[in-house]
Symmetry: D2
């Protein structure tokens, strides 16, 4: 069975396992105060070009989104996001459980539009009843989005300008950031993200690690007693070294970016195969997720030998499915896929 | 200054004040265990034709929506509502503060459509990722809606059928129910609501009372220790008699319905005036709220002598405004309005 | 049946009903923006001698405690209180539902001790694990306490000094403040409370009103968008005039204090009767609540003709019961009580 | 620097790292549906002798306590625990953040007493105001406790009997269960725990794993849609294999118990050393945590070469400190400690 259903069906890159094994016997402080976490944070500061950044490691994406949003929002504020945003659709109500309302904008292949954002916020403040509504306090972006798309630098700048104008915090979910940074067509680098966003995270779980996301406050604006906040959410690992050691390895000798590149190269090969075989794209992206439209019986047959994700119904007889590559996709699996398609 | 901006800019009907005054000196049990609350509950059971109903009095609409929803939803469930639903738009995030996600459907002049509801829920259960999403646990309707519209009996039956099919609870927000029941065109009576809904409330605040909503569980399915739930929300009044006495008066000699009729008669007169004066309707309804489109400078001028609500922008130069009548609208105010328009 | 079980078994003082009736027909802005609420706030500022105070009206005690605490606490903070504090014992978990932990100190007849408070907070900050604990962010006092006792001015000053030293906010629950202010032995006046506390409230529900508590931020430090916070808790009344008109009357011609005095005079008479009849005091207080110890069979017999509150077991055969007077206690009821005891 | 400050300053047992490495390249389903998690669950069912048990893996202790308690408690219920209980003291308010009040009983060296529990619950239900209080819905025990002590079988049976009598769920926090099971003096085996508790967890983080706790519902009573609950708390790992593989190794060839035994043997050796050196015990336990009383200057000096935990002040000049052993404590470290003490 070929596994193209997601980018988290694998383990960790061997260099991360090796780092964990090498450091396994050294006693270290708990709760993220260990030497590996500190080293990893330092490397991430250098990677981002933000020497004063605060860096904090958390275990997974939903956890990170909720801990960050609940720490940065005032009680009267919620988070603006695309209708397709992970926090709105696929987190089982975790934001709401933390008291956070998601304020949705139309999704343009996973992205929000700066103009629509501005119109939304302007209308909010113009509404005479706005004290009875949830204030737009943060803007949540994913990059790559849930549909594998990427913001351009100009788009990010426009969104950041609106955020700044209305005192909103710009928060970028980088669960798949490695693939975004290494996309062949992007003009957005890590320095741009660090310059434009108030908070973002660099995803490890989907880019080489067993778990872990590195939250970055590029301007050193991590909320006071953030660790207490993390603990309150049940999100603090006793052995923070688990994530620290992995990120220390990920940010050694550009491993993170080379893993991102591997996933992108595999995705380009996948796109070529899909095109050669005549598949109809729902959304052809420049990152590691590709969406094609399958007739339902064809989908059933393919699913006997290939794992992919059913994404959404296309029409009564067709379904949108997702094929994902990752840092661990093997050439032989792509060749096998070519045979089977 | 003429006041047509809402239906809660007045005090209480004199019969309610009189009941409060008459009973003022009698010592009574606190927390809603008083004799007036019990009497009012009994009268409401008779009014609804549901002898086994549980009836509980709360102070206001947002409070009622949140206390009820949080009591009837399982931890994995949220509430389906129209995009224009009060719980989604105008409660300052109160549902989310209680951990409740609102799952929105398109608003058709404030109403949801049974077919769209069914499609939404079917798609939810068909989604292979639905365990990572918020389950549709309740359906929230307002009747009249926030746009003054009413469901027909057939529409309510269709929605109830979908709710039943998927084990959802049907909850009807009747903050303005008196005006809905006395609309000249409705085919929905209180017995229909009691038969079709799992929970609903009969609004007092906007129909003759200073405060108070009567929550009705027509089938006697009030959640266990509901009073504890109410207390936990800070929603329990020490002197429950305040609401009990008012509802006891409201449900004596059909006062509630006659107040509803007064508001409807005033609204019909208002519609006639608006039409005679050539105003353009955004939404002409059969309840106590009427929506017209004003050119912005005209709006500014009118606002010097008449209070109305700015509802939403219509286009760059026009605005939708709401005029509301109520149980307390006076003929002389309508005549004065006619002069000013 | 004589009713001495509590101080909220009555209606409102006639002057309040009259004010409500007089103003009933005037259209007024909703949500506490009405002219009576503004007038009442102004009178309360004058009463407290704090011209810059923010004043906000809420409906009841539990609601007020939770809205205030959740608005003033940081996410990493909780509220220090006596083990007998209302927020810890009798609010059905409302603080916890709002995410607030109560941090308890020993109760000395309902009061906390400044020295114990200081030792508690010092130990907290000295604890090397305190980042994993809930920070003491506010000090909650009730005055009178749940046991009818009062802080002296020196005690309040000492507690305020500790609060200030550690950056905690001092919050005083004055649900029964009228009785505290008019106690014959107190040296604490409203000016002292306004000078020493960061937030306090003046209770209406138990001192002449049907509902309502006036929250006072004496230094004008009401949190930003406090109304939104109130709405989010479901605590905002559409017709704020209900509370505004009552407080406007309560703070006209010293009515609030004269109602307090009435309750105190009745309590002194009650104490005399209880003593003459040889009852054993569990706690003899200088406010409107008195606690006596009854043998259980005696308690059962008395309960056939007198309503009082069973407070707590004293030993296997005796129970502590509470008798409460109020602003509405009648001389004839005290005489009848004397006959029955 | 010798490290005796806790039992989570190490990495993982090599067998766990090896399992992770061996299985690293196999694509596996996410979210805990992987083959290792299923295998580990099966082995844990066998270990507990409960073939129908539900087993779910979570990352850490605080997270587990909160997810479980919020899933098993009704909205009107809280959790009874010792004043020293981890959920009450050291979870930064995580239970309260999830709306859960902790209801405390006296701590007897970390343990609660069945008689005091019964008296507490009886008094709760006898209190005429109990509808205004938080119901005791679950009993939280830690075994070993935060003070390293253990319940006897008779004590557990007595507590379970009280729990059953009042419909409470008995929940045992086994973060250090391996050390409890292998204590030389305990009469409590895993079968006893499985028979007496409604829910418990087998701690991995402190007994050989990098992270992970195995929640066991021995009677198959895991709440409906528990995974959704986990996701809502941000507690679901995309790569559940991380915990699954570790537990699969831990429950292969009795590794878990042999790691527990190693920690106990080391603790017995530690006790002998401490006694030989004349240290004064605050609490000498039969598990892996030992508490001694140090004079403060002596403490400062020792802390230059040995890491231990300052636990609590003993008096003005002495402090209680904790020395902990674990599955990874080396004989050479104990010998070095002996030299330094």
């Amino acid at each position: 069975m070929l596994a193209f259903e997601c980018d988290y069906n694998n383990g960790a890159h061997p260099a991360l396992l090796q780092k964990m094994a090498e450091t396994n016997e050294t006693p270290e402080a708990g709760y993220g105060m260990d030497v590996y976490s500190r080293s990893a944070a330092e490397k991430i500061r250098a990677f981002c070009g933000t020497p004063n950044a605060d860096v904090y490691f958390l275990a997974g994406g939903t956890q990170t989104n909720v801990v960050v949003l609940s720490a940065i929002l005032e009680p009267f504020e919620g988070a603006v996001c695309a209708e397709s945003g992970h926090i709105h659709v696929h987190e089982a109500g975790a934001p709401e459980y933390a008291g956070i309302k998601t304020l949705t904008l139309p999704s343009h292949a996973g992205k929000i539009d700066a103009g629509e954002l501005e119109a939304f916020v302007e209308r909010f403040y113009a509404d005479e009843a706005h004290e009875h509504m949830v204030f737009p306090g943060a803007v949540y972006l994913s990059h790559p989005t849930e549909y594998g798309t990427l913001y351009t630098k100009a788009e990010l700048e426009a969104i950041a300008a609106v955020s700044d104008r209305f005192g909103m915090r710009l928060f970028l979910d980088g669960a798949r950031l490695g693939y975004g940074l290494m996309s062949r067509t992007t003009d957005v680098g890590i320095a741009d993200i660090a310059a434009l966003c108030d908070i973002f995270y660099i995803g490890g779980t989907k880019v080489g690690a067993l778990c872990g996301e590195a939250v970055v406050f590029p301007n050193g604006t991590m909320p006071k007693h953030f660790a207490n906040h993390v603990k309150k959410h049940g999100a603090m690992l006793a052995k923070g070294r688990l994530i620290g050691a992995q990120f220390d390895a990920l940010f050694t000798e550009d491993l993170y970016l080379s893993l991102g590149k591997h996933g992108i190269d595999a995705a380009e090969r996948l796109k070529t195969i899909l095109k050669e075989k005549g598949y109809r794209f729902f959304l052809e992206t420049d990152t590691n997720q590709q969406f094609v439209i399958l007739e339902n019986e064809q989908m059933r047959l393919l699913s006997e030998s290939i794992r992919f994700s059913e994404w959404e119904p296309f029409d009564k007889t067709h379904t949108v499915v997702r094929f994902a590559t990752s840092w661990s996709t093997r050439e032989e699996d792509l060749e096998a896929l070519k045979e089977l398609l």
